[in-house]
């Protein structure tokens, strides 16, 4: 049931709607805003957004599931994305990935038990001449060595 008058309970959604309005066109900015606030999209958040925009919740889900930066269901507080494309591969991304997996004790695609980190591999981050590269949340880090990568991540623990 879509009710555009239903109260919004998720503070992240409320904030996003206040900031971005409820035009259909604003769906992506709203979703990004909610992820920024809540780390991921819940059922409730998507339903409430659907209600506010007067569209189906399935449509919101369909849009969200298309984009890499709109995690659904669960995601750690911080997201680490290591580039896996060819230039970073040549520069040694595999060692970086292994070092991070060992450090966080999870595999790529997983989230640490304490919910602090989700670790993912990513397609080209745009730092091919300075690989290996990774993003921690929004921030890019380049010319990585395994030690450097761990040190950077440690700052977020």
């Amino acid at each position: 049931m879509i009710d555009i008058n239903a109260p919004v309970t998720d503070p992240g959604v409320k904030n996003a709607l206040d900031k971005r309005g409820n035009a259909r066109e604003s769906l992506l900015p709203i979703l990004l805003e909610v992820v920024k606030e809540n780390s991921f999209l819940t059922d409730t958040a998507m339903k409430e957004i659907a209600g506010a925009l007067d569209i189906s919740s399935a449509e919101v889900f369909g849009v969200a599931s298309f984009y890499e930066f709109l995690p659904i269901g669960y995601n750690g507080k911080n997201t680490i994305r290591v580039c896996k494309n060819i230039s970073c591969y040549i520069e040694g991304k595999d060692e970086i990935i292994k070092a991070i997996e060992d450090f966080l004790k999870i595999k790529a695609g997983e989230t640490t038990r304490d919910g602090k980190f989700t670790f993912k591999t990513a397609n080209c981050l745009g730092w091919c001449h300075k690989g290996p590269a990774m993003l921690i949340n929004d921030t890019p880090h380049t010319d990585l060595t395994p030690e450097k990568a761990i040190a950077l991540i440690s700052e977020y623990t």
């Binding site: 259909r24 992506l28 900015p29 990004l32 990513a122 745009g126 091919c128 929004d138």
Partner: protein
């Protein structure tokens, strides 16, 4: 393999150009634009021979003419900063260092086609730049207002989807939908964002437009070759002796390029990123880096003799299998088949001749996929399989 020092000093090359990152006074250039008529702008851009620098290479003057002639109460300029092609990083650098020239390019396009709203679609991976960029946009908008120019720029963020670099997928994304390419025709120049005439130009294209207005079309037109006028920013990565960004005239031969940037053992250059062509050593001499030869959106990845071209191709196909929007059959299924196919051949589960079946699939993708993404998967596939067939095979 140890990397050799710079094989040849890049500064010695007569091909080096300095247009993109040169300094340009924003306000003064804007004054100049204000005085120009739309016809004059379009004539200059057309005369310069500028073609899109995002990869597809559509003549910019023609695109603007279509949008100018299209009917619409509103028209839009979109700066495509969804730089996602593996091996490119120039747009990020340009926006970082010379955003004013991008904004000017948008203002020029706006004046030419009669638009008063502009958007920069910045890929999600570059969202760390958004804060600074917003400030700069704000300043530029204020400048426009102070000069009574009815044009305003806004920033929109992508959310991590390579296909949104395709202009109609980008528009879909800006409208809050899944980034799926639209059927063309109609093209965005007539039916684009919100159904209105829309010009979508790459960051670099817009800066060249600014420079063409600034230095005149002739100086730009004289650079490069008969079919590839002007210069472009090359992003060099991989097994390169010299990495980074270099603005070079178009039309350079690949061997000349490899001499400057290679590490002495270059066996192949991937021109144009994952969606580009692989040029093997034996073809370096005859391959021109330009629209008459092998064009590039900027990505130049070098591979030396130690690299397995199978791994390279596999990496590209994994990329496309994930990044295809998935709506059209040739791309969604084709990418998976190519990837699974080369794996099956390499491991001996299918005969080496299966590569020919895969080439047939790739050729079908090239002419039947809905958008440039699916069409271009054939580029790396066919060029790598044709030139490095033995590396794909099982023995």
């Amino acid at each position: 393999m140890a990397r050799s020092p710079f094989p040849k000093k890049i500064s010695d090359s007569h091909k080096r150009v300095d247009l993109i990152f040169s300094e340009l006074p924003t306000e003064k250039t804007l004054q100049k634009i204000i005085k120009m008529t739309p016809d004059r702008i379009i004539r200059d851009i057309t005369d310069s021979g500028l073609r899109g620098r995002g990869g597809a290479g559509f003549p910019t003057g023609r695109k603007w003419t279509y949008a100018r002639e299209a009917e619409g109460d509103e028209k839009y300029i979109i700066c495509n900063a969804d730089e996602g092609e593996p091996g490119t990083f120039k747009d990020r650098e340009i926006l970082d260092r010379r955003s004013g020239k991008v904004f000017l390019g948008m203002a020029i396009a706006a004046k030419a086609v009669g638009a008063n709203r502009g958007f920069i679609y910045l890929r999600g991976e570059y969202s760390y730049m958004a804060k600074d960029l917003l400030g700069e946009i704000d300043e530029f908008n204020k400048l426009l207002t102070s000069k009574s120019v009815d044009f305003k720029i806004e920033l929109r963020l992508g959310a991590g989807a390579y296909v949104c670099g395709e202009e109609t997928a980008l528009i879909e994304s800006m409208e809050g939908h899944r980034g799926e390419a639209r059927n063309k025709p109609p093209f965005p120049a007539t039916v684009g964002f919100r159904g209105k005439p829309t010009v979508v130009n790459n960051v670099e294209t817009l800066v060249y437009a600014t420079m063409i207005i600034s230095i005149g079309p002739k100086k730009f037109e004289e650079l490069g070759t008969k079919y590839s006028h002007g210069a472009k920013v090359f992003c060099i990565s991989g097994d390169a002796g010299l990495k980074g960004m270099f603005e070079l005239e178009l039309g350079m031969k690949t061997d000349e390029f490899v001499n400057i940037f290679g590490d002495g053992a270059t066996k192949a250059v991937q021109v144009g990123g994952a969606s580009g062509q692989c040029v093997p050593r034996k073809k370096f001499k005859d391959t021109i880096l330009g629209f008459e030869g092998v064009p590039t959106g900027g990505s130049m990845m070098l591979f030396n003799s130690s690299r397995s071209m199978y791994n390279v191709l596999k990496n590209y196909l994994e990329f496309f299998t994930e990044e295809s929007c998935g709506q059209c059959t040739p791309c969604r299924v084709g990418c998976q088949q190519l990837l699974r196919g080369i794996e099956a051949v390499k491991t001996g589960r299918l005969p080496n001749t299966y590569l020919d079946d895969l080439i047939r699939v790739a050729k079908t993708m090239r002419i039947t996929a809905k958008c440039g993404l699916g069409q271009s998967v054939a580029n790396p596939f066919i060029s790598i399989v044709d030139n490095f067939r033995e590396e794909m095979m099982h023995f």
